[in-house]
Structures are given as C-alpha cells and as structure tokens.
Amino acid sequence: MEATNETEKIISEQLSSLNKIDTTESLEEWRVNTLGRQGVITSILKSISSLPVEERKAAGSAANQGKTRLQDAFGIKQKQLLANASSNSSDSIDVSLPGRPATRGKLHIVTQTIREISSVFVSLGFQIQEGPEVEWGKYNFDMLNIPQDHPARDMWDTLWVEKNHDDSEPLLLRTHTSPMQARIMESSTPPIRVIIPGKCYRYEATDATHEWQLTQIEGLAVDSDISFADLKGTLYEFAKRIFGQDRQVRFRCDYFPFVEPGVDMSIDCFKCSGKGCSICSHTGWIEILGAGMVHPNVFKGVNYDPEKYKGFAFGMGVERIAMLKYEIDDIRNFYTNDLRFLSQF
C-alpha cells in the first residue's frame, strides 16, 4: 500500500506543477520529465517489479491510472496553451515574412524545352541521339539532296570552317540537325525512330526573331510501312501535348530538298484564336515545324532501297517553341544570359 500512496503523491505533485505551466517550452520540459522515456512514470512502472508479488497488481493499476490522468491533463493543458498562443506575442512569429532563401539553380529554358519535347517523342518510341556540331559539307548538304550550287542552299546561310589545306573537304558549322538523318541511316538498319536535339549555326544577322546560334530537334522514323499518315499522326500528337489539347493543327505543302512530299505544320494562334494578330502575322496560324517523307535520293545516298523503305523526318526550332509557349518576344534573350531572364523559368 505504501507504494500506491507514494504513487498517488507523485501524481498529484506532477498535476500541480502542470497547472502552473504557462509556456509551450516548460510544458515540453514537463512532458519529458513526467511522461518521457526516462520520466517519473516510467521509473514508477520500473520500480513495480521490485515490489512483493501481492502488492504489484494494486501498484501497477494505480500507476497506470495515474499515467492516464496525467496524459489527459497534459492534453488539456496543451490545448489551452495553443489557444493562448495566437494571442500571445512572445511565441508567435510573422508568417508573412519571406523564408530563408535556400540556394537552388534552374536549368536554362532551352534545356527545359528540349527535355519537354524529347519526353513526348520518347514516349512514342523514339530514342535520343546527338551528332557533331562541326560537320562535313557532305552530310549537311550533299547527302540531303542539296547539291553544290543549288539555290536551295540559300535556305541555310552557312558559317564555313577555315580550311587547313586547299584540297581538304569543306567543313562547316551544321546549319540544321538534319545531317544526322544521313549519319544514323548510314550506320544502322530500319526500323529507325530517333530524335536528335542539338545546336546549329547560321550566317545570319541577329534581330528579335533571328539568331545565328540556335537549337533544333530533328526527328526520323524509317521502316517498310511508315506513311504520310504516320507523319501526321505523330506530329499531331506532339503538337497537342506541347501546346494543349484544344489546339487546331494544320498541315500544308512546303519544300525541303530532303523530303517529298514536304510539309509545314502550324497550330492555330493561341493569342488571337485565329482572328489574326502580330504573333501569327495576321494569318491565324503559327508555323511550328517543317517535315516530310524522306526523299528517295536521301535513301539512295545511304544505300537504302527507296522502294522498300519509307520514312518521315521533321525538324523544329527549340527557341521558337519556347518563345511561343512563354510569349518571349526577342530570341536574343536566350544566349545573352541575363539572370533576370533565366531565373523566370
């Protein structure tokens, strides 16, 4: 019985000290001392095992009841203190102040856009490859059915690399990612389904919509049963995923020497919904990419049988897509790297 009385005494002491508590800090201290792993209740419970057997049951139940009372009282006290805290300035903080800045960086908007576009095509079974930025003229032009001195070469104003010897093969900064079409077909056999992101360069004066350094994503799918319908289906899917399910997509005839038929894909203008505005040059449509069915001459150049294999290819400007998506009005922002620009994305 002595032990039970002792327990009662300790419990009431603890209750009275709990009553006096008026801060969350001292309440926490009380909780640790009383109910914690090494608190008084634990030591009472531990001590029971050393009592004579006949006393153990009563002492145990007294201790457990006491523990329950203390826990209940603690809960009530905790609620009181929390309710007071809102009016008690010493405990509360100004939650409207900015938090401590955690350092973090962001990926360049071009990188983010490449990843976004790539993930769409990867989910459609395309794999990612890359190629050299300094390229032989042969791959950039000749093997893409763009012969020397053909006026189609005007479509790509070129930065040429200084020659080491007069007789060395012409080297250039690739003007598009299309050379990889030929390189990939040269080194593998169908089925082929790849996209090729990468930097390209043009001999071009810069203004709000023209840059001499740009990023493209090329795509190529070749097999014995690839058709124009697949081209449309694949690119349609891409446009909807990148620009939204509500977009209208338009395919029209265009010319690129390495495809036949040639295609230009546009989406309806998201700014004016087709009424005509400055973004869409008052046509209601915005050009997104060029595409087409691989030209038989390109197949012949890589020793593919153009009767057996068909394929489609496409190419798009990453900056252009980012400009449209984020309403960026000047392409020169991308590579001047003002942190006020980059940190927005």
Partner: protein, 811 residues
C-alpha cells in the same frame, strides 16, 4: 514574288476574297507572307486625271510655276507646282484638297489641305509617284497617257491588292504571274488563259539588220532566242505599263526596257534589249569571259571578269554578263532606233556561281539560278514583241526570231502507280481522282492496263515543260496530295515495331551532371560557341594553331570556336555583376568544345564549368552570417556532383596559370585528369572586367567522366553493432594535405568514418597546423570496448608518427 490581283485576273477568273485566295495558295505550298493594298488613295474622287492647259510663272517665286489644269469637262484650276517636266498638253495626276498623299517631310500619308504658297492660293496638287505612294520618284511629276479624259478616275489603273508570295526554290515556274495563275486555276477549278503573243513579222529586217548569233558552249547556254526590232521610238511607257511595274516595286525606265521587265514578271523569263547600233559587227557571241576583261554594267559599276563567267559579247567586247546584268554601253537610250531582244536559257549553276562571286543578285539571275523552263524563251520573246508593237507606233517592224540552237525539246514522262500512292500516303486514291488533279495542273496522262497486283492501277504521266521540278514518282504524289489538301488525309499512329533500345550513356551522364549542378545551387547558362580569338587564347591552354576558325565570320567577336567554357562563363558573370548586390552569382554551363584535328572532324568534347562569385550574403531579413565564398564552397558543390555519379576524385595542387596558386587543384580520377578547380586569378578577372575577386570555378571534361563511369553498384551489408566516436587532434606540417592523414586513419579496419572537424593554424614560424578529426569506430562482428578503441587509436597514432611525423596533440 509580288502578285497584283488585277494582273492575275487577266489569266484566271478570281471569285474568292483575297484572304481566302491567300489561304488556298499557302496550303498548296505558295505561302502568302502578306496581303497589301496598293494605291488605296486612288479610290476617291479627290485624285483624278488632269490636263495642263497652260503654264504661267509664279509671280513671287522664280522656281515655281502656276499651271492651269483642266480637271473635268469644264472645270479648271490654277495650282502652284515646282516640277521641271511640265509642258502644255500633258496629262497628269491631280489631287484635290482632301486627297490622301504621302508627305515626304513627315514620312506619312496625310490629307491634302488647300493652301497658299508664296501668296498664291493652290487648291490642289500635281503629283509625283512618291506623293501618290506608288514609287520613289519625287523630282518629276507622273505623266499619264494623252488619251485619258480629264476628271476621270485612275482607280482601275493604280488601285490593287497585292499578294506577297514566298516561292520555294523548287518552283521557278511560280516566279511569274502566269505560274501563279496556273496554280490558282488548279485549286479553284477555273480555266487558265494565256497572254496574247501574236505579232507581225517583217522579212526585210533580216536584210536590213542581219545578226549573227554564236553559242560557244551549249553547256552554259542551252538556248538563245533573239529578234531584231527596227524603227522604234524610245520614250515614256504607257500609263498601264508604268502602273504594272510600280506595283512590282520596279522603276519605269522607258517603253522598251519596261516591256522586257513586264514580260519577265509575267512569264518568269528574263529578257534583255540591246541597242543594235552599239553591237559591233552585229555579231553576238555567247562565250566565257577572257581573263581580266571588264564590263561597265547598267548600274554604272565596272566589274572585272574571268573565264568562269559567261558573257554576251559582240565581235570585240562583252556587252552583257549573261543572265545577270546588261552593259551600259549597249543599253537602250533615247537615241536607240533598233534593238536586239534577247530571251535565252543559261546554265543555272554557272549563273549562280557568277552572281555570288560578284555579289550581284538581280531579278534575272534569281530566276536563271532556279532553272526556268527552256521552252519559255521563245514564248516570252513573242510576248515582248507583241507588247512592243502594241505600245509603239505602227512603223515598228520585227524580224524573224533567231533560235539557236534549233532543237526539239523532249517532253518528259513518269510512271505513276496507285500502289505507290497508297504506300507513301497511307491511303488509297482512285485513278480517276489522281489523274483529274494532275490534269488541272497541266499534266497529261495515258492510263494503262495493269499487269501486276490486281487492285493496282498505273498511268504514264507527261510532265508539262514548265514543271522542271517534277523528276520522280514521289513528286507527282506530292502534286496530288497538295492539291487535294494535306488536311484531307488520314492520320495514324506508327504501327511498325519499336526499334531495339540503344543506351546513350554519355547523354544520360551529362544530364545527371546538369541536374546536379542545378540541384546544388547553380543557374544554367548557355553561351555562344563562337568567341573572340584573342580573348579565347587568353584563357586557353590550347595552342591557337589548333583553334577551329570560321572562314566567313559574322564579326571578329565570333571568329573562333571555343576550346573551353571559360570565356562564356566569365562573360556571363561580367554582364550580371549587378546581381552581386543581391547575393552570390552561381552559374554553370555544359557544352561542346572544339579542337582542330587535321584531316578529320575537330575533336568535339563536352565540358562542364561551374562558377561561384561573391559572398554568402543574400539580401533580406534572414541574412545573419555574411562571409566570403571560398574554395571549399565550390569544392563542396563539385563533391556533391561527383558523388551523384558515384565518382571519387583526388585533388592535388594545380599549376594552372589561370587560377590562383595555392588555391587551386587538379581533379583526378585515378591517374586521369578530370578537370580543375580553384580561385580565378586577378589578371583573368580584370580582362573580363569582373570586379569581384572572390570568384571560383571548376571545369570538367565530361568525356573523361563517360570513360571512367562504372555503372555497376553492388550492395554492401552494413554493420549493426554500436559505434564509438572519438575526437583526435594532431599536429602536422602545413604542407601535409589532410587527405593523406585521413587515408592513413581510414586504413584501420575498425574506422568507418574520418572527418576533419576543426583546423587551426599554429604560429606561422612553426609551419604547423592542428587538425581535429572526428573518428567513428565500428566492428562488423561485435560491440567494441573502450579498451579496444583506445588500442586502435594508439596504432593509428603510431602509424601517423612513423609515416608523416605527425604528433598527437593533447586537448
């Protein structure tokens, strides 16, 4: 290609709105870039034909005249005019007050107000082309045909809607009004009519003006058609011709030259008129130029020729640069009475090479480069003769057309199969539908009975001479598809099997580095790959001999491909220095670098560079402890990045001249150098105008990472027995890197972790430092006793003393 609708309307009936027409043309591949309204101001009663009745001097100004102008059947006005080409009887454009005219001073179109000039009221104005907004001439007033009625409207002549078409290089036939009209007819199901080409031939001309034409190289000139026209009177062009050229943005020169230009725009065939009296011996020779031969062009530029260029020459000298520009001396002038009209077909490659080497691009060279149809030469010549006869006096007589060489042009044909259409487009098209599209475009067909697979069909398609771009069956299929409309075709998902997966490990690793760089606090930047050569060599360890330079750089700032990423990252820091006021600048770039390799593509390695600058301070109320960034901040970032790739690197003091000695290291994986890290030296910072001295970077050769990366990670069981921690402080020579001490401590099998927690440099004279290590002991097989730990420490201390002469230091 500017296409005035009134001109187009001559050859095809247009029943759709300009906007709709623009849409239809765009869809079939003739992209309309803009729709422009031309001469809109003529659509009002304020601009009319006027007749100069008499010319009086302005009483108060010597240079001004006061002509009396008839502007209606009875109505006359006196207006002030400063032009010098006025004469009684001529017809002019008269603008009444309220007319919209271009004001040269303001650069805008404005409403004309009645005003007084030097005390004389002037209720209107006699207009120049510039004032009317239809040309650039502002010195002279525009003179109209004498036949026009005073007071009548000029709306039909000058007012127009013009489509600006972007013609792709494969469609030279559409660099002409007729070509565009042909497309319009095909897509709107209308009939196409051709221009009038009839003319009167006078056989006596060949005796009065015999001309000899000789082509030296048929490779360079496939066809040369010429005709002599005698008894011409060179003068101003009729109003309709002036208006037509004005709409094309072309200046009116005289009635002969204007006809050649008009026919070029209409048919796509460039023509040239020579003053036959200036052609020595009436001999025309189409030959390569002689070395250093000179030609004074129509633009009054003297150009030096070489044998790669084709010229039209008389018996002595070049009189034109073939297919590009005529010579001034043989050009048509006021005194010309007889001309040789040329309409030829030149080798496109030769024209292109010459035009680009001389940087002389003309409407003619632009068309010849695109390989116009050979058959066009004689048709266009006939059209020009027709127009010269129509617009000149009756005396004009024309000789027989000389056509050299006299060749029969073969018409080309291709086989078209229904199965090929289906395979390419993914949909069946009936023979009837396919052929009907081709017929609309001027193709002819011969349907054939099919011998192969049962459902297939075939036809032999003859290619019209103006479609030199149609060379293979796929070209025909494109014609069918574009006219039917790409939007009409079905869409499908690729049904072919997914290609075998080929892992792209470099790309995977590089993107992990990229993510890690951002994750650990740096903003990604992407800079230009081309740099200023001398700036690059100031931060490059590569021999400038191995730089890859651009032969035709845009400017000197973009002449050389980067060999490392330092220039770009430092330029970016430099241009963003104002941000250092708000906090540290932490940026990184990943990209290719280029080093020359003779006989092959340059070495195009990928690198990563990270840079931090400033101090830890960040603007805002939370900022408490502000200190300068140091070497260990950048190293911490790099260690995180490498640990993400499961790579462990060694850091040994670097001798890199770009980095501060003693605060820089080479980064090694095994024995291979991965890159460098350290504080950027002041002389480099100052050459990039960076003021912040606390600037650190690391640069990694990612190709080394690709080669060192081991994909395989094997799980190691971890010990579960309790650990014991001890702090151990040692006194070591400052020259001993901590890493060496750590590695000796870690040699103990019972040590699982050793971390320097405090470093204190002793008095400088002593050259000693004291380092405290937190060492964690753990046994894989049991709980260690204090004695066992103490024994292990003894062993470690003994080893440290023995190998590095390091003393234990009592706390």
């Amino acid at each position: 290609m500017l296409t005035p609708l009134s001109w187009l309307q001559k050859y095809v009936d247009i029943t759709v709105s300009p906007e709709n027409l623009a849409h239809l043309l765009t869809m079939v591949g003739l992209e309309v870039e803009s729709i422009e309204r031309f001469g809109e101001n003529f659509n009002s009663d304020q601009i009319v034909v006027g007749e100069i009745l008499e010319i009086n001097q302005h009483p108060n100004a010597d240079r001004l005249l006061l002509p009396k102008v008839k502007i209606g059947s009875t109505e006359t006005v006196n207006v002030v005019c400063g032009a010098t080409n006025l004469s009684p009887g001529i017809k002019i454009v008269f603008a009444k007050p309220g007319a919209t005219l271009f004001n040269q001073k303001s650069g805008k179109f404005q409403k004309l107000k009645a005003s007084a000039i030097r005390g004389i009221s002037s209720p209107g104005m006699i207009c120049s082309e510039l004032e009317l907004g239809i040309g650039q001439n502002h010195e002279n007033i525009l003179i109209l045909d004498k036949s026009l009625e005073p007071g009548s409207s000029l709306q039909d002549t000058f007012s127009d809607t013009i489509l600006d078409l972007s013609i792709t290089p494969n469609r030279p036939d559409c660099l002409s009004i007729i070509g565009v009209a042909r497309e319009v007819a095909a897509i709107t199901n209308k009939k196409l009519s051709g221009p009038e080409i009839s003319y009167k031939e006078n056989s006596s001309v060949s005796t009065s003006s015999p001309v000899e034409i000789h082509i030296e190289s048929l490779d360079l000139c496939k066809r040369y058609c010429g005709a002599v026209v005698e008894n011409i009177t060179v003068g101003p062009s009729p109003t309709w011709l002036k208006a037509a050229l004005a709409k094309m943005g072309h200046r009116s020169i005289n009635n002969i030259v204007d006809v050649t230009n008009y026919v070029m725009y209409e048919t796509g065939q460039p023509l040239h008129a020579f003053d036959l009296n200036k052609i020595q011996d009436s001999k025309i020779k189409i030959r390569p130029a002689k070395n250093k031969e000179k030609l004074l062009t129509l633009d009054n530029e003297s150009i030096e020729l070489n044998p790669s260029m084709l010229v039209i020459a008389d018996s002595k000298n070049p009189v034109a640069l073939a297919g590009i520009i005529g010579g001034l001396n043989s050009s048509v002038s006021q005194n010309t009475t007889r001309i040789l009209l040329e309409s030829a077909n030149f080798n496109p490659t030769s024209i292109r090479k010459t035009a680009s080497s001389l940087k002389l691009r003309t409407d003619a060279s632009y068309r010849f480069e695109r390989n116009p149809n050979e058959a066009l030469a004689s048709k266009a010549l006939k059209r020009a003769i027709h127009l010269i006869q129509k617009t000149s006096s009756q005396k004009v007589s024309c000789g027989k057309i000389i056509d050299a060489p006299e060749t029969q042009l073969d018409s080309m044909s291709l086989q078209l199969h229904g199965s090929a259409i289906e395979k390419l487009l993914g949909v069946k098209i009936s023979q009837k539908e396919a052929l009907s599209v081709l017929h609309k475009l001027g193709f002819q067909s011969n349907a054939q009975t099919q011998t192969g697979p049962s459902n297939d069909w075939a036809a032999k398609i003859s290619i019209p001479d103006w479609r030199s771009d149609i060379k293979i069956q796929e070209d025909l299929i494109e014609e069918i598809a574009r006219i039917l409309g790409y939007d009409q075709f079905p869409t499908s998902n690729i049904s072919s099997s997914i290609p075998e997966y080929l892992p792209n490990m470099p790309l995977h690793l590089r993107e992990q580095v990229r993510d890690a760089c951002a994750e650990f606090g740096m903003q990604e930047v992407i800079t230009y790959s081309l740099k200023n050569e001398s700036l690059l060599s100031s931060v490059s360890s590569d021999d400038p001999q191995n730089f890859v330079n651009i032969a035709n750089p845009l400017n000197s700032e973009t002449k050389t491909l980067r060999t490392n990423l330092m220039v770009g990252i430092l330029e970016t820091l430099s241009s963003n220095q104002n941000f250092l006021k708000e906090g540290p600048v932490k940026i990184f770039e990943i990209g290719r670098t280029f080093v020359n390799k003779p006989g092959s593509l340059p070495i195009q390695n990928e690198m990563a560079v990270g840079l931090i600058s400033g101090n830890t301070f960040s603007e805002g109320w939370t900022n408490a402890n502000n200190r300068k960034l140091d070497f260990y901040d950048i190293k911490g970032i790099l260690e995180n990045i490498l640990s993400k790739l499961k790579l462990e690197a060694k850091y040994i003091p670097s001798k890199d001249a770009l980095l501060v000695k003693g605060q820089s290291a080479d980064i090694l994986i095994g024995e291979t150098k991965l890159g460098k890290i350290g504080k950027i030296s002041n002389h480099i910072l100052s050459s990039f105008e960076v003021d912040e001295a606390n600037t650190f970077l690391f640069e990694l050769n990612l190709n080394t990472i690709y080669s060192k990366f081991k994909n395989k990670i094997t799980f190691r069981p971890f010990a579960t027995f309790p650990t014991s921690e001890r702090d151990l402080t040692v006194l070591a020579d400052t020259s001993i890197p901590s890493e060496k001490i750590e590695s000796i401590i870690l040699e103990s099998k019972l040590v699982t972790k050793c971390l320097p927690v405090d470093i204190y440099k002793q008095d400088h004279g002593n050259q000693k430092k004291s380092i405290t290590y937190k060492i964690v002991f753990q046994s894989p097989s049991k709980t260690l006793t204090s004695n066992e730990v103490a024994n292990e420490i003894e062993k470690i201390l003994f080893k440290l003393k023995k190998t590095l002469n390091i003393d234990f230091r009592e706390k």
